[in-house]
Symmetry: C2
Subunit: 489 residues, 2 copies
């Protein structure tokens, strides 16, 4: 056995154990009895301790020093292992444990404080998390920008500066677009009650249409939709609102985008370091392409309208055009996860600016609420009415996920580029989607991007798929064209 | 930290990881996508490797040498750890790995051979498993009887000799009882179709009646009913036959017996070595008490009859007495898992004699089929018609589970003793059960036996609960009285 083979065998077991941890997470959110929560925390803790010991195993340094990659795939494996090992070893064990302990408690405190609209009660905890993450960022950056180091965890190669430049270019055009839209007449929404079983049946149809491989996955209900697992076991969840069927349908399509990425990776990469989506941004580019650029297209919504009429009968919308407008209704709202395509990125940019300032020490935690509310009024035109609709709405910061938010918009940007290239290369796409057939699009994405897993760097895999350098232009062009036409601007 | 504390902290993580492995097993049998099987095998393999490394960790020997138990509970913990560590270390790693590898393949080969009624195809595999298990038994016995050493894995303190003596006392009375019964008129069975949803709803009612704690468990469908997990997450499965509702109901009650044992253990023992059922025999004593002595009693079936009439209407049985006779119908059959209370132990005794002879080298694998068929004809009065109804019917031997079968009948024997004591101490039991209230019985079992987990040795915990030395007498008296009365013998 060579050092490379030894290292890969070791990593394969680690990846398998990481899949087990993912399965426990799925179990917890879908089927676990409520009384099992305390014991489960210990089970997960024991497994995480095993994973941490493996990820910091001193033999890895020796193997990395000696390993010779047999080919380009092997070189990518070594790059991923080295990157992960270097990052893990840069963070002192004491700090890693403290972050795990504090953030695990912080989520409960956040949920309680959100429930009673208690910003002051949350601030000491948030301050502790910010301090710990700043320390972690500092350890990782080794003299550089601590926020950049945190972003790199979710989006290798990306920096706060590059994101800021991109977002600065996007914000004026998005603000201008939303102002024009809100001056025009709003489309009608759906009315009526939509039964849970019918919604779930149609959502399964949608999952199938978007290429979900049922032999390697399943769909269950959960409070927050998610996709979980890699390779041959990639499960998704969805949710149902009886008055808002789009919640179920577009949550499902979104998660199928994530799952299709994981299921679409070259099976030869399964249970290896490159056998999963390469970054959060690229992951989100798939879910957002599926959900928005494809799933909310005029062509596809035309087919969906027909199916919904067959399943649900009348629901207050008389034709496919009205349905397309309803699906794409733009409305200012407090909550990011409920935002439309235009407002969504404005939500993200705001969190990016605030969290970056927090980590860089340019904004004190005590001033966060005022900064949030001021920015919200500037970008959304209304005042935040209560903290649960403001700075207490997202779980991310209590989990220590600083640097994660911008990857949502990066995913939208990449999705804009990918679907531009896709449409150029698959000219009959709308005709197929109008018949409910999305396979040409999902097949293109699988072939061009998904199958590579972690073989290429995030930005590189998007560039290779598109054939051009990705930037925010295609997304903004798409949004202005689509909503300009819908709203007659 | 003392050596005892260090050891217990280490064991606690091991127990937590063992629970994770159990959860993976549950997942595999209930919700796993079929395409995930190969990857899952690697995930389980990686986790088992972690568990094996922990169970053979050389630090355990040092801790055990130094540890001082703080109290009687601590002494029981050390006894369990020492026992488990000694057994693990006696089996060479090469042999343990070979057994794991061969038995994992053997199960697939067994299933294939059973499917095509191919004894000859299965024999080479069975021979290999027998040889390996004999070698393991020899390593564990260190000069003693290898079969005894294997039995001890499932039933600490029990020996093949003691079991043989008990079974020799039981067999003539059981054979005589079945012959008398089969000479009498057989009761009618149920007729009609029983809808799956109604069966599952009523089986949930039964689980609740028998004290299943839903906040720490759940019930799902699986091909083979089982109970899985300890402490705060104890899940069961059941199955449904549309023509035989007793299959679902009594599988459920049986598994609730196992689960109630695990749920009933003192919560202070959770995730410790004594925090689970102490042996297979004691476990089976709970499932069998629940299923048979309680669940198939005249009192309880009277209540069940009423509920079934409410749910299913007419099903060919006119009164509670006829229903009691139907539930307790005695019929000779080839298949152990479908056997009634009288025949069941005859199945087990036969497997015990055969497997003991195989391990002790007194029966060659090539002669097993003839020996099986001859014994079956002697005890059941009919000839085996095909191997899947004969020696290929059970998965156990392909899994290497030699020494496991006798614990089924030992469980029945213990159940006989426990329910005899229970009835002596709770005189109004039948009146309560006739109203669907089993809580006095399940409460007694929890208080007297279940809560102790692994605190006492198996036979000891039964003796303490009963107040007398357990033997086969109460079970045989119960069977002769019950079936003598039903069949008017």
């Amino acid at each position: 056995m060579s050092a490379y083979d030894d290292l890969m065998a070791f990593q394969r077991q680690t990846e398998a154990l990481a899949q087990v941890a993912g399965r426990l997470g799925w179990d917890q959110e879908t089927v676990m009895p409520e009384g099992a929560a305390g014991q489960r925390a210990e089970e997960i803790g024991a497994l995480e301790a095993v994973l941490h010991a493996r990820r910091t195993d001193p033999r890895i340094a020796g193997w990395l020093a000696e390993a010779v990659a047999p080919d380009a795939v092997g070189a990518a494996q070594l790059r991923q292992i080295r990157r992960s090992y270097d990052r893990t070893m840069k963070v002192p064990a004491r700090l890693a444990e403290e972050i795990a302990r504090v953030t695990s408690l912080a989520q409960g405190i956040w949920a309680e404080c959100r429930g009673r609209e208690d910003v002051a009660g949350f601030l000491p905890t948030l301050r502790k998390v910010v301090e710990l993450k700043r320390e972690e960022g500092g350890a990782l950056a080794a003299g550089g920008d601590p926020y950049d180091a945190l972003v790199d965890d979710y989006e290798p190669g990306m920096t706060g500066t590059a994101i800021a430049a991109m977002f600065d270019a996007m914000r004026p055009r998005l603000v201008a677009l939303r102002e024009k839209i809100l001056g025009a007449e709003a489309p009608h929404g759906v009315v009526g009650r939509f039964g849970q079983e019918d919604q779930l049946a149609l959502s399964r149809e949608l999952a199938t249409a978007f290429g979900y491989d049922w032999s390697r996955g399943r769909v269950d209900l959960a409070v927050h939709p998610f996709s979980s697992g890699s390779g041959h076991d990639v499960r998704i969840t969805t949710r149902v609102s009886e008055t808002d069927p789009f919640n179920c349908f577009y949550s499902t399509i979104h998660e199928v985008g994530h799952a299709a990425y994981e299921q679409g990776i070259d099976p030869a990469f399964a249970l290896t370091p490159i056998g999963q989506g390469v970054s959060m941004g690229v992951h989100e580019s798939q879910s957002r392409s599926y959900e928005n650029q494809l799933g909310r297209s005029r062509a596809f919504t035309g087919w969906l309208y027909g199916r919904m009429r067959e399943v649900f009968g009348e629901f207050g919308i008389g034709d496919a055009e009205g349905f397309y407008r309803a699906v794409n209704r733009v409305h200012p709202g407090y909550i990011r996860t409920e935002a439309d395509e235009v407002h969504y990125n404005l939500h993200v940019m705001m969190r990016f600016d605030l969290e970056r300032a927090l980590i860089r020490g340019e904004l004190d935690v005590a001033d966060l609420e005022a900064a949030w509310n001021e920015r919200f009024r500037a970008d959304f035109g209304v005042a935040v009415d209560r903290p649960s609709n403001g700075m207490l709405q997202d779980v991310h910061w209590s989990c220590g996920l600083f640097g994660y938010f911008p990857t949502y918009s990066l995913g939208n940007v990449y999705a804009g580029c990918l679907v531009k290239a896709l449409r150029a290369e698959v000219p009959g796409l709308d005709g197929m989607m109008a018949a409910g057939d999305v396979s040409a699009a999902t097949g293109w994405l699988r072939e061009r991007l998904q199958r590579h897993g972690g073989l290429y760097e995030p930005r590189d895999v998007v560039r290779r798929a598109c054939g051009f350098e990705p930037d925010e232009g295609p997304l903004l062009d798409y949004l202005e064209a689509k909503f300009g036409e819908i709203y007659g601007l």
